[in-house]
Amino acid sequence: MNIGYYPGCALHGSSNDYEQSLRACLGALDVQLDEMKDWICCGATAAHSLNHKLSLALPARNLAVAERDGFKQLFAPCPLCSMQLLKAKKAAGDERVRKELSEIVEADLRGESEVLNLIQMFEKIGVARLKSAVKAPPKSITAACYYGCLLTRPPDVVHFDDFEQPTSMETIVAALGAKTVEWNYKTECCGAGMTMSNEDIVLELAHKILSNAAEHGANCLVVACPMCHVNLDMKQAAVERRFGKKLGMVVYYLSDLVGLALGLSAEQLSINRHFVTQA
């Protein structure tokens, strides 16, 4: 199956390991990512704190271009992007706003394409299909699934899972044959918004998340967001220094774990490029 793909800034930049993991993992499941042409910034963070209309117009442009090019489904692996696209889609429900946005972005925004996050991508492929494709069940893994803030929120925009007690990622991880734990900080903030401006907050939040996962018996974290990955993986050494303890928590993308179960190597999935590679 060919599917429309909106990478956003992170997957072509700081988190290109995520993109490599996705292409390898989804490729093994016969899903080819067809990158949409002419995409621009999704409008997250900077735009929506400055100008509401701009924060709608940016994703509206992307959605309209994808729709123009005939993508009925648009896969946005970064939850910030998928949330922004869904925000534009929701705005298009109001005919007056839809017309206004179409005029601004000089393309016909229809708001009909389906926007998928990573978990929904796997749900689309099907849990049964995943199960049958597993070659190397990751039995040694006990994962704390971490959703972060934007995968499930705001609920009236993304309409995805229970926004306080989500379970969809666990379903997929369990289908691979790995164990999951119930823990406390599934949907708490990782501090990504503060990465540049206030590292103290980021380290404290990341510390809470990482150590709570460990306390509940997890030996790794699974994420579906490049921002979460940066904060929990790249910053982990700083957290360890600040709080004076060894955490050694491997942070996988959900696609890493699926890829491993499908028999792909850590190199193919570029897990070897993570900062924390083993406990």
Binding site: D162, E164, Q165, N184, E188
Partner: protein, 666 residues
């Protein structure tokens, strides 16, 4: 009609200040058909009414217009006066020159001209009025009470004590409702069961109350004074007439670990059970979804053990009919189901509290059972997860209430009070324990209510934090409650052993279906609508149907009981006479011209129009027609506006009258 008397009122200064009443009276006197035109300072006072009566007699008036206030105010007064003088009261019309003229205008000349026009319209209406007779409807002098909670019990006993028969329908196996499960009640802390169970027994033993427990209202037919109610008696699998309530069956039943509805899942019950020892009737039911005999023809121990031979595994639902004249709906409430899948996604909030995930996060009715002497723990407060005595309990109010984003916009009214009560009950049971309360506002309006909350804080040491809780998590066996104290402006984290959520009150399940059967209104939340929020608080817009208790809106016990007694007194007034008199200003259908399209039947909001056949005196079929049931019609006029053949008309407000009024203005 050509001998019309017009009586223009000054209403003291109210009308006369802005309207030149002399000028009006003089001009009106010249209208065709007006026999006499007078004005007087207070037309509604005795001398004014006497003037009307006197003129009806002396001038042989055949129609009267009183130009004064709104017909809501005094139409009845003047109709009565006219009737005393021998004039059909429906030949009296009001011209409202106060609310619709003098009160809203300043320019005397213009107001005077407008008053004249208003009166001219009324004169035109009277010219086309017909003498009507009030409708008389026979009354079945019995009442139905739906719901056997404290409100239903109060209403039933009041009506029955007044000498009328009462049919009570309760869908649970026992009456008693929510109150039977409460521990102690605010603001006096008297034991709920001690004050309720004697009333339940009274209902069970009352010679004039017929109790259908474990039954539901299936169908409602008829109209005020003459309802025919079909009741579904659900299969109980126990013959109530043979059973003695000895208890052998539920003692011998091996399937004892079923979640108890009465304990809200805090306790267990057998598959054959009475919900609680003081149940009325004290007769068990078998849960067919759990009984081994009914599921797979196994067990049957209760049947063998029962000396009275009361167990009947072949029992089936039975439909019975009852005739009643009035209905009191008292179906009560349920709690908002926190974070569970709900029909409306907007109601799916509060996953952050972990209700359903953490065993020690419970709702307030569950807490009632845990501190009730009759509860599953015998009144010792043990937390559900491990039976330990909680040393720190967090109470969160407004869970689902006053929340447009994820709950319901209204205030559930009683939670502030029962949460204060909970902290006291907790402190009285666990002396070294600490209660914490997160609240939005404390709403404790009522006799002795605010004092009660102060007592909880000042004497029993409950700590109140004005703010919400953002998340509850579990660590090392403790519930970590993170919230805000917005008065101190600081975040608060409490390590609690148990959390109690004061969930919003919602109307009981099935209320909308029942309201549709009864043809009464309900709001967007399912609460039943009263006819007027101030002046007709227990009546519905369907004659003969009354409401009481929390099915109307969130309310506490004293208020539910007061409303039940009010509804009962309305029923007693209705049942005091052999027949009801209703105003004749209702729809009538010209059955000769009716095209039998039945558009009116489909649009009538009161289901007051039926199909009928016209037949010759010998019984030969002539044609189909629609026919208005005068007992049900509320005179709204919807049928008149939809009838394509103009066969429907509103008596006392006919199309002809309206056209004549409009033409008179031309």
């Amino acid at each position: 009609m050509s001998r019309i008397g017009v009586f223009t009122c000054w209403c003291g200064e109210n009308i006369a200040r802005t309207v030149d009443v002399d000028e009006v009276a003089k001009r009106v006197a010249e209208l065709p058909g007006v026999r006499c035109s007078l004005n007087y300072k207070y037309m509604c006072a005795d001398p004014g009414q006497a003037l009307v009566r006197e003129k009806i007699a002396s001038e042989k008036l055949d129609g009267v217009v009183v130009a004064s206030c709104s017909p809501h105010m005094h139409l009845k007064t003047f109709r009565k006066a006219a009737q005393t003088a021998g004039l059909n009261p429906y030949l009296v019309e009001m011209a409202n020159i106060r609310e619709q003229c003098s009160w809203v205008h300043h320019d005397r000349a213009q107001a005077t001209a407008k008053a004249f026009e208003i009166i001219r319209l009324a004169v035109e209406k009277v010219r086309n009025d017909a003498a009507l007779q009030p409708i008389r409807v026979p009354v079945t002098r019995r009442a139905l009470v739906i719901g056997g909670g404290v409100a239903g019990i109060q209403a039933a006993l009041d009506i029955a004590d007044a000498g009328h028969e009462v049919v009570m329908v309760e869908r649970e196996p026992s009456i008693g409702g929510k109150m039977a499960g409460l521990s102690e009640t605010f603001p006096t802390l008297d034991c709920s069961q001690c004050i309720l169970t004697p009333r339940m027994v009274e209902v069970g033993q009352h010679p004039r109350i017929k109790l259908y427990s474990y039954s539901e209202v299936e169908k409602v037919e008829g109209f005020v004074g003459n309802f025919k109610i079909t009741i579904r008696q659900k299969a109980r699998y126990v013959d109530v007439s043979k059973c003695t309530g000895c208890g052998e069956c539920w003692n011998v039943c091996p399937l004892k670990r079923n979640s108890s509805e009465f304990d809200y899942g805090m306790g267990m019950r057998p598959a054959i059970y009475i919900p609680f020892p003081q149940a009325v009737p004290a007769r068990p039911v078998i849960d067919k979804s759990q009984c081994a005999k009914l599921i797979r023809n196994g067990c049957g121990l209760c049947e063998k053990k029962c000396k009275a031979e009361a167990i009947n595994f072949k029992d089936e639902d039975r439909l019975v009919e009852e005739a009643v004249g009035a209905v009191v709906v008292a179906t009560g409430y349920k709690l908002y189901s926190i974070a569970k899948s709900q029909p409306k996604t907007t109601l799916a909030g509060y996953g952050e509290y972990g209700y359903g995930k953490y065993k020690d996060v419970i709702d307030s009715l569950q807490f009632e059972r845990l501190v009730s002497a009759s509860g599953p723990t015998g009144g010792v407060l043990k937390r559900p997860s491990d039976g330990a005595i909680p040393k720190s309990v967090v109470f969160i109010s407004c869970v689902g209430s006053r929340d447009n984003a994820k709950g319901l916009p209204y205030c559930s009214k009683i939670c502030c009070m029962y949460t204060a009560k909970h902290t006291m009950l907790y402190k009285h049971k666990v002396h070294d324990g600490q209660a914490h309360v997160f609240y939005m506002d404390i709403r404790a309006g009522g006799k002795g209510y605010d004092e009660f909350v102060r007592r909880a804080i000042e004497q029993d040491g409950a700590r109140y934090y004005r703010g919400r809780v953002s998340k509850i998590t579990q660590e090392h066996g403790k519930l970590i409650v993170r919230g805000a104290d917005t008065l101190a402006g600081i975040p608060v984290t409490i390590e609690a052993d148990m959390v109690v959520l004061a969930a919003a009150m919602r109307p009981a399940d099935g209320i909308e279906e029942l309201a549709q059967k009864l043809n009464i209104g309900y709001d967007e939340f399912g609460f039943l609508m009263e006819s007027h929020p101030k002046l007709r608080p227990v009546e519905t817009n369907t004659a003969g149907i009354f409401i009481a208790g929390a099915c109307h809106s969130p309310k506490d016990i004293p208020e539910a009981v007061a409303q039940a007694s009010a509804a009962a007194s309305k029923v007693q007034v209705m049942l005091a006479a052999d027949e009801l008199t209703r105003e004749p200003e209702i729809a009538a259908i010209n059955e000769q011209t009716c095209a039998a399209c039945f558009t009116c039947i489909r649009t009538c909001p009161y289901h007051a129009i039926d199909r009928a056949e016209l037949r010759t005196p010998r019984g030969a079929f002539i044609k189909n027609t629609a026919r208005v049931n005068p007992g049900l019609c509320m005179g709204c006029g919807t049928c008149v506006s939809v009838c394509p053949s103009k066969s429907a008309d509103l008596q006392g407000f006919t199309d002809q009258q309206v056209y004549a009024m409009v033409e008179s203005l031309a």
